[in-house]
């Protein structure tokens, strides 16, 4: 019997940046990374800043070209097999990103409505405006916002948590199958984080959405994930079920990372 093809398969992905004007230097941002994401699965990619998480996300979102390796979505190589404009639109509808800074994504001079309008070109051409705004309202309600409260507002009139929900609603508009969430709560206070994490889990359970959750915070990954991938200096060093990984990390880097995380119930004895 053959195993079903996962939704996303990343194979031996590498990205080298060459920087510097006079003394050219190679930076291996991503080195031979392979993993899969199944349907209805939240997979976390955990690592410290500079470990290559965002570069990996950008390659999957087709914002950055890999140096080598492949990204297969539903079996199609997204850098080789998407030829027509239609293919690309299909991919952009299927895979959506929600990025780190919910404020940076907005233009402070335009109302929130604009971030939705920018998505309209990905909606079916025969849809009229009324239907489109109907979808926006549905998406806002789904992320726990009141459309009448949010639409028409300027970004600074919304809290950080509300802005992040708006960005998630925007991504949902085109009914993606995979959401790439890059540090979606790192700018938020702890009291607002749980709401967003709960929302992501609800979207997985109710919509069957798959999510790549990128974070530097193992605590968050431990809560939302079905599986955790640990990235260190461009490489995947360990993968596992959250409880397994926290209780018995195997790679030296993961071991150190986990022993350095400040906890509530266990106080460090070595400081």
């Amino acid at each position: 019997m053959e195993l079903p093809e996962p939704l996303l398969r990343v194979e031996n992905l590498s990205k080298v940046f060459v920087v510097g004007l006079f003394t050219r230097r190679r930076i291996d941002a991503v080195k031979g990374v392979s993993f899969t994401i199944g349907r209805r699965e939240i997979v976390s990619l955990v690592g410290e800043s500079g470990s290559g998480k965002t570069t990996t996300a950008k390659i999957i979102l087709r914002l950055e070209k890999p140096t080598s390796g492949r990204v297969l979505f539903e079996g199609r190589d997204v850098w080789r097999d998407l030829r027509s404009r239609e293919d690309i639109l299909w991919y952009r509808r299927s895979v959506q990103g929600v990025m780190q800074d919910p404020y940076g994504a907005f233009n402070p001079f335009y109302r929130v409505d604009r971030v939705f309008k920018q998505m309209f070109k990905l909606l079916p051409k025969d849809m009229d405006d009324e239907e489109r705004w109907g979808l926006v309202e549905k998406a806002l309600i789904e992320v726990g916002l009141n459309p009448r409260y949010v639409l028409g507002k300027y970004p600074h009139e919304l809290s950080g948590g509300e802005r992040q929900r708006v960005m998630i609603a925007r991504a949902l508009l085109v009914e993606p199958k995979l959401l790439i969430a890059d540090e979606p709560v790192s700018m938020l206070d702890a009291t607002l984080r749980s709401g967003i994490l709960k929302l992501l889990m609800k979207l997985r359970d109710e919509r069957g959405l798959s999510i790549l959750f990128i974070t530097h915070d193992m605590g968050l990954a431990y809560y939302v994930s079905d599986r955790i991938l640990v990235m260190y200096r461009g490489e995947l060093v360990e993968e596992g079920h959250p409880d397994e990984l926290i209780e018995s990390p195997r790679h030296p880097y993961t071991k150190r990372l986990i022993s350095d995380i400040p906890l509530l119930y266990r106080k460090w004895s070595d400081i």
Binding site: E48, G195, L197, D217, D260, P262, K267, W268, I271
Partner: protein
């Protein structure tokens, strides 16, 4: 023995052409010799403003509109700025601000930053004496002395933070105030910075530390006492473990239960959400500042400001705990 630092009913406001921000609203707090006090609270609740008030580094648009700041009984709020600069800052109380880059002049090498800093207080020392003092201290604290010859931007984030702390404590101030010293750092680097602070305290280089953070799991590793701040007020203060494991103020309870650390006790509890957002400090609410989001709030909470109640070694501002008007 009087406390090292005492804030007595302090109100501090940013007064601008566009309006007033009520950033600190009636804070009373004592910091004893030998303690590490953690101050925790959400973004914008007034932590950094309180830090500025603690050393009376208060200049427009920030104003101290009421209350007193006493350092070993001396009213700092009565001293002119130039005396504070010469006699208090750096020598008695030192602050490592939230953005270290602002603290370290980017156009100067670390050793020259140190020279200028020391000479404000000890103009009689010559450059070589200052450098050798800096080298000795860096060695004592396990910091690479090569950092002295570098510019701040050449240092990694963690090293920059440690250098800023080493400079701030060079003249052995009694009190060190560290504003979010670990927030921008990876966990392993956070630990290195915490170790440095603990060492300064263990070796008596500083007597007391105020550690400001929004991360309770971090402050848990180092503080002896903790104060929880909300909308410009302290709502609960007491011994660290008591407050964390048996919070008495509803806000403390919710704040603690929103922490997500990777440990089984916390996972069992699940995800707890606080509805709504903190109030806008341009228009602070009447009554208890948390009433709007508090699951137990009554009419009285929305109307009357709670007064402090002492329960054991804790101080709580909550009507539910008997903080009603006398």
């Amino acid at each position: 023995m009087p406390p090292l630092l005492k804030l007595d009913d302090v109100y501090a406001q940013y007064i601008t052409r566009y309006g007033t921000v009520y950033a600190v609203n009636g804070v009373s707090l004592e910091i004893g010799e030998g303690e590490i006090l953690g101050i925790v609270g959400e973004s914008g609740c007034g932590k950094s403003t309180l830090a500025r008030v603690m050393m009376m580094n208060v200049k427009p648009p920030l104003h101290l509109v009421r209350g007193r700041v006493l350092l070993q009984g001396v009213e700092l709020n009565r001293l002119p700025r130039d005396r504070l600069k010469r006699e208090v800052w750096g020598k008695q109380v030192s602050l490592v601000p939230q953005s270290v880059m602002n603290a370290l002049n980017p156009t100067m090498r670390v050793r020259d930053i140190i020279r200028d800093f020391v000479k404000v207080h000890n103009p009689e020392l010559d450059d070589d004496e200052v450098y050798s003092m800096a080298r000795d201290r860096f060695e004592e604290l396990g910091l690479d002395i090569r950092a002295l010859d570098l510019y701040p931007f050449e240092l990694s984030g963690g090293m920059r933070q440690r250098v800023a702390i080493a400079i701030a404590t060079l003249l052995n101030p009694k009190l060190l105030i560290a504003d979010e010293p670990t927030s921008a750092l990876d966990v392993s680097t956070q630990k290195v910075v915490l170790k440095l602070l603990k060492r300064l305290w263990n070796e008596g280089i500083v007597k007391s530390i105020v550690f400001i953070t929004h991360d309770i799991a971090v402050v848990r590793q180092i503080a002896t006492r903790i104060a929880v701040m909300y909308a410009g007020k302290i709502v609960e203060v007491g011994p660290l473990e008591e407050v964390i494991f048996k919070p008495l103020h509803p806000y403390t309870e919710l704040l603690i239960s929103s922490i997500l650390t990777p440990e089984p006790e916390v996972k069992k509890r699940g995800l707890v959400e606080i509805r709504g957002a903190p109030p806008d400090l341009r228009t602070p609410p009447r009554g208890c500042p948390f009433a709007e989001r508090c699951p137990y709030a009554t009419d009285r909470c929305r109307r009357e400001e709670p007064r402090p109640v002492v329960i054991g070694s804790r101080l709580i501002y909550c009507h539910l705990r008997g903080g009603g008007a006398a």
